[in-house]
């Protein structure tokens, strides 16, 4: 009889936990209009990094580009741009865009002090 009570006790805990999880993950979801840049879908992120690269083309300021990339990765690294190049190629971006990204990646790699210490 005791084991039966223990069984139902555990079942009730499991049921309660399920209800709690459903509330937290399904009913009480975070605000849909309050997402961060880091939550953007990968192709949007690639486009965002491309925009940073295009801005860099005109500004030629690696520190400014790094600050902008910091919205996607903290701390930002040249690897983020390198991965964007790979993804952009997969997504079929035109060659000019790939070159813009490549120039930014190269600039960030040579911008050694803050980036060299990154893993």
């Amino acid at each position: 009889m005791r084991s039966r009570r223990v069984f139902w006790f555990l079942v009730s805990i499991a049921l309660g936990a399920a209800l709690g999880l459903i509330y937290g993950w399904v009913i009480h979801q975070p605000d849909y209009q309050d997402a961060a840049l880091t939550s953007l879908r990968k192709d949007y992120q690639v486009d965002l990094i491309l925009m940073v690269a295009q801005a860099y083309q005109e500004e030629q300021d690696p520190s400014l580009a790094l600050r902008r990339l910091g919205n996607l990765q903290d701390p930002p690294t040249a690897r983020l741009v390198q991965q964007a190049i790979i993804d952009a190629q997969t997504l079929g971006y035109p060659r000019s865009d790939i070159e813009s990204l490549a120039q930014l990646a190269q600039a960030l790699q040579s911008y050694a002090p803050p980036l060299g210490s990154q893993p």
């Binding site: 009889m1 009570r5 139902w8 006790f9 555990l10 079942v11 009730s12 805990i13 499991a14 049921l15 309660g16 936990a17 399920a18 209800l19 709690g20 999880l21 459903i22 509330y23 937290g24 993950w25 399904v26 009480h28 979801q29 975070p30 849909y32 209009q33 309050d34 997402a35 961060a36 840049l37 880091t38 939550s39 953007l40 879908r41 990968k42 192709d43 949007y44 690639v46 486009d47 965002l48 491309l50 925009m51 940073v52 295009q54 801005a55 083309q57 005109e58 500004e59 902008r68 919205n71 993804d87 952009a88 997969t90 997504l91 079929g92 971006y93 035109p94």
Partner: protein, 280 residues
Amino acid sequence: MNENRSPLYLLTGLILGIVAGLVFSLVISPAVYVDTAPSALSATDQDIYRSLIALAYSSDGNLERALQRLQLLQDADIRQALAEQAQRLMADPLTRREARALAELSVAIQQTGINPVVNPSAAVSPTAGSVTPFATLDLAAAVSTATPVPPTATLPPTMTPRPTFTRQPTLNAPYILVNREEICNVDVPLIQVWVTDASGEQMPGMRVDIFWADGSDFFYTGLYPQVGLGYADFEMTPEVSYSLRVGESGQVVEDLTAPECTDSNGSPYWGGWKLEFSQP
């Protein structure tokens, strides 16, 4: 005897489970949106996204692509959103470049006569989960709207940018003062600047330098497209004398001090100046 025991232990278990579930789902591992669209970003991050669009446009001049990107944000009025953000950023010297890029993009869109329509289908519903974002990257599911490639662009022909529509200020063109007028119908002591070219067309994106005894600043026309593409203003500090110049070699207007006006009750208040510049 045991059969008649209270089932209170079941309620206890249920409550314990609910508490544990809530703690886990709300505190330990709360739901995080992944794979969201730009329209789902917070207002702050949408501003960052919009600024980058403008800076990219400033670099490549591709208005069609800028429009495609802007439509992802699903602003009700794209031009207005750009202009408002430009006005906000103008206040900070560190973001003036972004402000100018935003203003130029707003003006470029306005000059093409395009009225961008937000495409709700561009929005992508996020998926909530407790996993780390980007853990399930599926590039095959990528949408082309975020990765516009010129040959596959599907905007209607009316959205084709016309580079000649974007009036570019000529830095060396001398702008001279054609009208200087004291104004009293203002809430704050403003210097209102209107800039037109030789044909009388309003000129956006013109740099206006302003100097006073112990400082200087600059601002641009076109940040208030709702007022005028060639309009800009600057708030004066009362009893400070300013000098102002439009463009690099324009005429310098001096002795601009907030004039004292009087309201209907005879109470004094600070007025402003309306300055109209044009090319000869």
